[in-house]
Structure formats: C-alpha cells, structure tokens
Amino acid sequence: MSEQTVNLKKVLFIDDNLQFLEMIERLMGNWSRGEWQIFLAQNSGKALLILQEHAIDLAVVDVQMPVVDGIQFLALLNRKYPHVQKVTLSAYADEASRTACLSQGAELFLEKPRDPADLELIFTTLRELARHKPVATGFRGVLRQVSLEDVIQMECLNRNSSILEVNAGNWHGKIFIKDGSILHAEAGGRNGESALNKILSLKGGEFNLKNFVEPPQQSIDGQWEFLLMEAARVRDEGRDTEELPEPAPPQAVAPLPLPAPVLKASELVAPPVSFVPAPISNRPARIDEMVVCTAKGEVLYEWQSPTVGDRISFLEFLSQKSQQLGEGLNLGAFDRLEMEGDRMRVIAQIKSDRGVFVRATKATARRPAETPNYAMA
C-alpha cells in the first residue's frame, strides 16, 4: 500500500441538498489535492451504508434534514461509530442546535457557507480536524450501543430497501425492508412476525445492513410502527425470549458502596488532593442524585435521578471532551470534572470501566470566606 493511500482521509458529507453536495465534491475535491476521498449521501440511510463499507475518518452532517434530522443521525453515529470525527453544518446556527450537536458528539458546529470563500474556510477547518486522529481508548463511544429498533426505524423512515442481518452466537436472523416497509423476517426456522419478534427480543449480538435483494416470500404485511410496538409488547411480556441464545453475560462487577443520604460531596468520589481552592468549595452538601454506570452505559446504581439517560449522555460528552482537552495539552489521564454553582455542586468522574455522576445541594448557611462574590449568579 502506498503512503498516499495510507494518508488518504475518507470524508463523508450528508445533506439532502444534492446541488450542495455536488458543489462540495467539486470544490473540496480540488482543494484537498488528492488528500481526501469524498463520499456523498443524501439521507441517513445511505450514509449508514457508506459507513458500513468504508472506514470513514470524518462525517459532516447537515442539521436540517427531512425525516431523520442531523441531530438524530448524529446521536446514532456517535453510538455506532464513536471514533468517526463528526462536524455539523447548519444554515441556522442557533445556540439550541449548537448545544444539541455538541451534546451528541459533534467536534465542531459550523454555519453553512453562503459563498465559496466561506466554504474554503470550512475546508481548511475540516482538513485540520481530519488530520487529527482521535485516540481510540477510554470511555468515549463505548457507552450505549445502537439498538436494532433504531436502525429499523431509520431505514423505514427513509423509505430505504435493505436487509438487516442479525447474529447472536450461532443464531442468525434476517429482516427484509423494501421502500420503508418490513416485508419478511426469518430466524431460527421461523418466518414472519414471529421471527421479527424473536429477533427484536435479542438482548445482544451484532447486526449488519446489507443491500436489498428480494426475499423468498412476503411473510409480513403491516405498518412498521405497529410491528415494532407489537414486538416491544411481546418482549416486555417475556413471551418470546426463552429459546434464544443470550450473549455472554457482562463481566461481574463488584458491588458498589452505596452513598449515605448526607455526605460531604468532596468525600464521595474525589480522592484527596493537596490543594482545594475556594471556587471548588468543601462546604457540606446533601446528595440529591447519583448515577453509576459501566463504560457501556449500563446503569449499575441509580439514586433519585430524574433523567438517567441525560446523565449518561452527559458522561459520554464529558468523556469525549476530556480526551480532546487532555490530548491537546498533554495533561495525562482525566479523573473528573467538578462543577460549582451558587447552591449546587456536581461531580462527574470518568474511569476506564465506569462513569459516576453526583449532584448535590450545598448547605444554605454560608461563610463569607467560602463564598466569593464571583461565584454568585
């Protein structure tokens, strides 16, 4: 393999505007002088196929896309392909979109260019990002795995045609989707809805999206939304799971010490350090919420958390940002982020095998020396 091939960066652009994609291909193809191999996708379904077939380095996603928008797609991309660098382009660069994109793993949130000069600036930014290979270790991207339902939903919403092959140990299944409708499913000698329910009741395994070929028969005739709901109902009732081989059980985790209801927040997670400045105070605090999860985002312990999913997403974001920050400045291993407000304190810790989130309310009685003016909102 030549050096040029090794250094070739594979860049995928996802945008529903074909003219924009063609302009990108023409201009950025020229500017990259052979450094980039450019892939184009007009919808998320096509993008997923490209991602499956090519080792994409950088994905540039339009935020405003019909059916499955860029933020939804970004969330899926972040879970299934965590090591692909992600950038979003938006014609309406509002703060809400920016925050949502950053939360879902985008490295950059850029305003969509209005003329070629702006586009060249964006190219320069993307080229720098593509040259930087993220470190594939740590918590990042190994949190939640994408679910089968996510992929089926996306294929159907996009009116795609494909075959979803599912493997769990020695067990295999297939779901045939044509123009966004589920036509046929087969698994373990079963066909139709029974097979579909079997496949969707799996708690683990792998799946691959293949190009569509006609199924041997049409065994399913119904709207995909109802089919997925029915499968979920069957699964919840535990009616169709007993014969399926389960994946290997997760590695045993030692029981975690449970927090007493009232503790000093600094005693919970943080090891003692030699210096604790006033901004990160030692004021006594009452624990309001706690979440402990594995590196794959499985909840090990939850206490009074109103939105566990949001906390896990936050840990995922933190894992990614802490790596970016640490790599650039060569700071060593990341331990935790401490966040301090007037009345609350949050500690989020990322370790190779777990994430911990603790939110606490600080005691209301304030001592002046511990509450500098700048900490007040």
């Binding site: 925050t99 950053l102 030699s274 901004p279 935790r336 301090e340 900490a375």
Partner: protein, 116 residues
C-alpha cells in the same frame, strides 16, 4: 484586537504557578498566554473551545455552574464563565506548585470586572 485583554493575560502569567491561561469571547475569538512550550497557542485555543462547549452543555443540562475544574493526573484546568458569555481558562499543576487560593480568587475577581 483587544489589547487590554492580551495585556491582562500577560500580567496574569506573572502570578505564581499559573502555567497558561486563555479567554474565549462569545463571538469565538480566543486570546491565550502560556509560559511553557507544552501549551501551544493552538492547543490552548482548542482548550478554550472545549471549555466553552462544556459550559454550553452544562447549562443545557440545567446545572447553573459558573465555575468548573477539570482534574487530570498532574494538572487542574479551571474554567470560569461570565454572564456575558466570556470564558476564562487557567492551567496549573495539581500536586505541587499550585496557584494559591488568594491568587486564584484575585484572578477570577479581576476577570469578572475586566472590560470587553
């Protein structure tokens, strides 16, 4: 060019044990100063962006935090947010040669009253 911000950051580099610092404005301009080749302007600019992104996500999660501290093996990265969206990043060692508490308080108080 906001010369006074550069000047203020340069002045802060004289504070004991401040290794590097930077300010990022709401319009994404970044000003940085460092006394170590380890902390290049590009890396510091990137760090300020990470900090600003983090404040965005923290606020979207309804944690009203005005100050954060990233804890690494050997370093602290402090982040401070003003109500007008300006962020300050200050880098120090974690285990020895730390910034004193009073120096840190002074830096933050000055940052909050720094004209922009």
């Amino acid at each position: 060019m906001k010369e006074h911000i550069h000047n203020w950051l340069t002045e802060k580099m004289r504070v004991n044990n401040v290794l590097a610092c930077g300010i990022r404005s709401p319009d994404r301009k970044t000003f940085t100063r460092s006394q170590s080749a380890q902390f290049t302007p590009v890396a510091l600019e990137h760090a300020c962006r990470c900090l600003s992104d983090t404040f965005h996500v923290i606020n979207s999660n309804r944690f009203p935090a005005q100050l954060i501290r990233w804890v690494y093996d050997n370093y602290f990265v402090y982040g401070f947010l003003r109500e007008d969206g300006y962020c300050l990043a200050v880098l120090s060692r974690r285990t020895d040669l730390v910034i004193s508490q009073s120096d840190l308080e002074t830096i933050v108080a000055e940052f909050h009253s720094l004209p922009v």
